[in-house]
């Protein structure tokens, strides 16, 4: 085990997967000589050459479109979108093409492709370097979505994504790139896509979350343990497919559910989790399903105070937990 940042875990995984399989290529804006705007791809072009680590024109549609074509012709491309906020020009390629290729050919074509992109805010990225995009893409069957919260998860899920036979949107929370360190298993480490993980055992309520909010959830749970509140924390790890069995299991155990996510609240991942619980575990709930998320404003502002006001804070989570347990 080595202690790595989330960023190092992602970079090292690309190194090892590109060394293992020569079909894996990387393409995106500034991924070559510069090593990416966050330095996630640093050193990859030097190691694997300009053929396999390609600085593309500044056009997301062709980054994903060409990656699809390369995937159809035997490669395993990783397409990097520099910021998730800039993914929309590639929407047609992702939604109409990659996610439907297998279905529309009745299983005779596959599109093994990873689209990596940094998402999320809290780094003064303002409206166009802070977005959470998962809910929009989670509405697209045929696309898998990973949102790791720890370096070990990042390694395990990115390895699985690169080896997957279907398109995977791999979301990297940019605030965690360097702020989160953790032990990462050496050698082969593959986590199944579609499996959540209980990060903290508890009995009074379940906090269901993913990405950067996992760390806030654990902080809130630790804080309240001194008050005799026992919170279980479920890390979804993947948004699509959603691990409904794990969601059901934790709420079956605690009978209370708090869903915590950074995306704006309406029709976010929490809406689906909430609907699922209401449909399937109605009789087991001892309190209303509760969501803590960001407000439905168009995007995250730049100013520090406004940014903080946008993002769920520790006191928001603590307050929600107290209300749920007291209900």
């Amino acid at each position: 085990m080595a202690v790595k940042t989330l960023l190092e875990a992602i970079r090292d995984t690309m190194f090892s997967e590109m060394a293992r399989d020569e079909r894996v290529i990387l393409m995106g804006e500034d991924v070559g000589a510069k090593g990416g705007v966050f330095k996630v791809t640093e050193g990859l072009q030097k190691e694997f050459g300009e053929d396999r680590v390609i600085d593309t024109p500044l056009a997301e549609g062709v980054i994903v479109g060409a990656a699809i074509g390369a995937a159809l012709n035997g490669l395993r491309p990783i397409a990097e979108i520099q910021f998730a906020d800039f993914i929309w020009p590639a929407m047609d390629q992702i939604v109409s093409e990659a996610a439907r290729m297998r279905y529309r050919t009745n299983g005779t074509f596959a599109c093994p492709l990873v689209i990596r992109t940094p998402y999320g805010g809290g780094v003064h990225g303002a409206l166009y370097h802070s977005q959470s995009i998962e809910a929009t893409f989670a509405h697209v069957p045929g696309l898998k979505i990973c949102a790791p919260a720890t370096p070990a998860e990042a390694k395990g899920l990115l390895t699985a994504a690169i080896r997957d036979e279907d398109p995977v949107l791999f979301l990297e929370h940019k605030r965690l790139y360097r702020s989160i360190k953790g032990e990462v298993p050496d050698g082969e480490h593959v986590l199944p896509i579609g499996k959540a993980d209980v990060k903290r055992e508890g009995s009074d309520l379940s906090i269901i979350t993913y990405g950067a909010m996992l760390h806030l959830a654990i902080e809130a749970a630790e804080k309240l343990s001194g008050e005799g509140i026992s919170a279980e924390v479920l890390d979804l790890r993947t948004i699509q497919p959603l691990d409904r069995a794990a969601i059901a299991a934790t709420v079956h155990k605690t009978n209370r559910a708090l869903i915590l996510y950074e995306d704006n609240k309406t029709l976010g991942v929490g809406a689906e989790v909430s609907a699922f619980l209401a449909e399937e575990l109605f009789d087991e709930l001892d309190a209303p399903i509760t969501r803590v998320a960001s407000p439905d404003v168009p995007a995250m502002p730049y100013n520090h105070g406004l940014e903080k006001a946008f993002l769920p804070q520790l006191e928001d989570v603590v307050g929600a937990i107290r209300r749920l347990v007291a209900y």
Binding site: A59, G61, G65, S96, T105, R244
Partner: protein, 362 residues
């Protein structure tokens, strides 16, 4: 204040070039086969319309008037070796690449055995992995960046294969067209961009789509050759495509071919083009019908005679008759297969509709 783009400013020299003159090397037998596939495409297409008007199929979209461009291109490529990204009018091209009238009729009737999609897609949304015919979708131009990517893979894998991608002129105004050609030219990829230019983006004529008279001129923006070709002449098209294939195979990079064709039908079976096309324009398009013209050429060269032509038409019609009978009698897809092939592992995740399925999380 400076005037930008003043009216007196001379226009840049943007004339489309012609491919270098060359004599097509097609044998008489190949020319006869080319004609036969053009005829098969046409008679098959005409049957789709009849079946549609009889209420036996919900939709059709035509190749009529495009056959010469498709077959001229097809003969410059090597089926089985080269890759094609067709679009929904490319009946002739996919027949040349090995799909059969039965295959396409199974698609028309949306039967389970439809090789393109098992009845999931609209007719003429071709696909055959074995024949290197890449799946067609309905959004236009999405296949252009993909073809660039397929050619990138050919280059990285050191495969001696050329990718050809077809599209209408309507989509050459889209961003995806620009992005695909630009990327391909930067990396000098072995890809041929083939515009089947019939002058109509559904109801919008060429002059309302673009400010240049030829799509070929757009090539100059990407520093690649752009050929303006009479796409109603299969030999002219073959000559241009053969030159483009030669360039692509030898590492010379991509070519844009602007094949002027005629649209002999409405956009699709759901369109009535009399609402927006003048009678004279439709008549003019009919005079450009490639099939009678190529027939005359073959008759003149003694490659075909009236008796052989009649026999050929009968044989092709019989093939189409067979395809109709075969496909219509073929089983429909089982509705229980609706959730299949969302992912490789067939999770069935697409079936959580709340309509009585067993909840898959239990």
């Amino acid at each position: 204040m400076r005037a930008i783009g003043s009216a007196t400013e001379p226009r840049a020299e943007t004339k489309a070039s012609s491919p270098p003159a060359m004599t097509p090397q097609l044998s008489n037998e190949q020319l006869r086969q080319l004609y036969e596939t053009m005829l098969l495409s046409r008679i098959l297409d005409e049957r789709f319309w009849i079946l549609n008007r009889q209420g036996r199929g919900a939709f059709t979209i035509s190749c009529q008037g495009h056959e010469a461009a498709q077959l001229g291109l097809g003969y410059a490529l090597e089926p089985g070796k080269d890759i094609v990204f067709p679009y929904y009018r490319d009946t002739g091209l996919v027949l040349h690449f090995g799909m059969t009238p039965r295959d396409l009729m199974l698609g028309f009737f949306a039967r389970a055995a439809d090789p393109s999609s098992g009845g999931r897609q609209m007719p003429n949304h071709f696909a055959s992995a074995a024949r290197k015919i890449i799946s067609v979708s309905s959004p236009v131009a999405t296949q252009i960046p993909q073809a660039t990517g397929a050619a990138l893979a050919s280059k990285l894998r050191h495969l001696d294969e050329v990718t050809a991608v077809c599209f209408g002129e309507g989509c050459t105004s889209s961003g995806a067209f620009h992005e695909g050609l630009n990327f391909a030219s930067v990396h000098r990829l072995p890809v041929i961009f083939v515009c089947e230019n019939n002058g109509w983006a559904i109801s919008v004529p060429r002059e309302k789509q673009m400010a240049v008279p030829n799509v070929a001129e757009r090539a100059s923006a990407y520093n690649l050759p752009g050929y303006a070709v009479d796409g109603t002449d299969p030999l002219a098209m073959y000559a241009a495509a053969a030159e483009a294939v030669k360039r692509a195979r030898s590492g010379g990079g991509p070519t844009l071919i602007d094949a002027r064709v005629a649209r002999l039908t409405p956009h699709s079976s759901d369109d009535d083009d009399r609402r927006y096309r003048a009678t004279e324009e439709i008549e003019q398009a009919r005079r450009l019908d490639p099939i009678p013209r190529f027939r005359q050429l073959l008759l003149g060269r003694g490659i075909l005679d009236e008796g052989a032509d009649k026999a050929l038409r009968e044989r092709v019609s019989a093939l189409v008759d067979d395809a109709v009978g075969f496909a219509e009698a073929s089983p429909e897809p089982d509705p229980a297969t609706l959730g299949r092939h969302v992912f490789a592992e067939d999770t069935g995740d697409g079936l959580t509709t709340g309509r009585g399925e067993v909840a898959e999380w239990r």
